[in-house]
């Protein structure tokens, strides 16, 4: 496919607001997870909670959309010059030529939960929450269209944990067919009772900080995040960050368990590489879905081992991390560094519908800073999860990066980014 320039991007997660906080945490191996202080009813787990979302105040014209998710959306827009980049694009193309394709899993359901917790004695919503604007999942899309004054096609994609990866694919098609000249993509998901107690009911929530790919991993840590990217066509915009491929597929297997052989995930991965016109050997870094659940990591690790070649450098660096090593090991100078793969959910928690954009931004930051993050909290890498998964981050050039996102319903999306458009 024709690459698209990623001309601006930003993300806000539990490790802080904006890209600098994220790359800083990735390099310092600093987690944003903390003991659950979000739910009124106790639930023993760790969460990736974004600080000061409660303090965000919406401008008066956006007041009907006020809720935690839209506050986080606004907070997320305010870093890395993103709003200025959108304004420049609006001047360049016109507000009706910019598509808004945004992902979320639960959107503003937290406001609906709050209304149920504060029903009037007659069983109705309290007056302050009688706002239809927040009791429907497109709340996020409408809010962002208003906040950014965008007048092109506007849609909220909600395919669970692949939501804000799929937005890149949908936006690419809109640009390819000339429906829009630029697209704002991204995703926002906030902590809420539905996901904390819902995943708990499936016994997928760990009591400890999640440790993806560790042999003793025992579940996920939930998080919240907002992230956005501006996509423009090659030839119009120059950039050192490009979306060069995407692949989507369905498992056709089970609503909440991955296909045991990762067949759907492999279809998406191979389709993404084919559209990117890159061989597996060209990939320098993979941000894995790596939730920390027993099944996901086993299936995903096996997939990576199957698709990506093992070079001598891979086996030399994977399992040999010293116990008290300083973070961010330099790559050995004598050899081209082998592929590194990692899950960054130990930093941010699993941000569900925002995971795609958060981890796409991590891929872009990996390219920009020449840094391949490690898998935080894991103490060792489960040998069943293949040879490419790295415990620790390292400085090494990243020219091509892959981001994997897999959601409930067997919904898979893989993205490929590169530092230049041409192969």
């Amino acid at each position: 496919m024709k690459p698209l320039a990623v001309t601006a991007y930003t993300t806000t997660t539990a490790v802080g607001q904006g890209n600098a906080a994220l790359i800083g945490a990735l390099m310092a191996e600093r987690s944003g997870l903390r003991p659950n202080d979000f739910t009124q009813h106790p639930l023993e787990t760790f969460i990736g909670r974004v600080a000061d979302v409660e303090a965000v105040r919406l401008p008066s014209h956006l007041a009907p959309w006020d809720c935690r998710n839209n506050r986080l959306a606004l907070l997320g827009l305010e870093s890395d010059g993103f709003i200025a980049a959108v304004e420049a694009a609006r001047r360049r193309y016109g507000a009706d030529r910019i598509a808004l394709v945004i992902g979320t899993s639960t959107s503003s359901i937290g406001a609906t939960e709050e209304a149920y917790a504060r029903l009037t004695p007659e069983g109705h919503f309290p007056d302050d929450l009688c706002r239809p604007e927040v009791h429907t999942p497109h709340s996020l899309g409408v809010f962002l269209a208003r906040a950014l004054d965008l007048r092109g096609p506007c849609v909220t994609v909600s395919t669970a944990c692949s939501s804000s990866a799929k937005v890149f694919a949908q936006a690419e098609r809109l640009l390819r067919l000339g429906i829009a000249d630029a697209a704002i993509v991204g995703g926002v998901d906030t902590l809420c009772g539905s996901v904390l107690f819902g995943f708990n009911s499936l016994e997928l929530v760990s009591k400890e900080p999640c440790r993806p790919f560790d042999p003793t991993r025992n579940g996920i840590s939930l998080g919240e995040a907002a992230g956005f990217a501006l996509l423009e066509r090659e030839g119009v915009a120059d950039s050192d960050a490009w979306l060069i491929g995407h692949g989507e597929s369905s498992d056709a297997h089970h609503m909440s368990s991955p296909h045991p052989e990762g067949l759907g995930a492999e279809l998406a991965l191979r389709d993404a590489l084919a559209r990117a016109q890159r061989a597996p050997a060209a990939v320098d870094y993979i941000n894995l879905h790596g939730t920390g659940s027993q099944k996901n990591d086993e299936v995903e690790g096996a997939l990576i081992a199957r698709v990506f070649p093992v070079s001598p450098a891979t086996s030399a660096t994977t399992h040999a991390a010293p116990a008290h090593a300083a973070p961010a090991h330099p790559a050995p100078a004598h050899a081209a560094p082998a592929l590194a793969a990692s899950s960054t959910k130990g930093f941010t928690g699993h941000t569900l519908g925002a995971a795609g954009i958060v981890e796409a931004v991590i891929c872009l930051l990996a390219m920009k800073h020449g840094f391949r993050p490690g898998t935080l909290n894991a103490r060792s890498i489960d040998p069943d999860c293949g040879p490419h998964v790295r415990l620790h981050g390292e400085h090494a050039p990243v020219r091509v990066a892959v981001n994997e996102s897999f959601g409930f319903g067997g919904n898979n999306c893989v993205l490929v980014f590169a530092d230049r458009a041409a192969p």
């Binding site: 009911s201 016994e203 609503m255 368990s257």
Partner: protein, 99 residues
């Protein structure tokens, strides 16, 4: 009454507790067209047999905790044994009910 007399040996007849558990399984898992009385006490509940899966085990554990106050978690090492059959499940629940 669920207990039947006739050609069945005792092991193939549901006890009262087993029948109650069979009704809970059919209702909570919305098992279409399954007569609770037809669930064989010793037959496997999962995989073959009734064709239940891991989500059903979690749903069933939740219903059992609501009805009987007995907590069953899938990380319990004895779980495979407890959920093996209608009989093993009913026996476990009734010996672990809070007084």
């Amino acid at each position: 009454m669920p207990a039947r007399e006739g050609i069945y040996s005792m092991s193939q007849v549901q006890s009262v507790a087993e029948h109650e558990m069979a009704e809970l399984i059919v209702t909570s898992l919305n098992l279409e067209g399954v007569d609770p009385a037809s669930i064989e006490p010793e037959a496997p509940l999962f995989g073959t047999g009734l064709g239940l899966d891991s989500i059903d085990a979690l749903e069933l554990a939740l219903e059992i905790s609501k009805r009987y106050g007995v907590q069953l978690r899938s990380d319990d090492e004895d779980n495979r044994q407890i959920f093996a059959s209608l009989r093993s499940l009913a026996t476990y629940v009734h010996t672990h009910r809070p007084a």
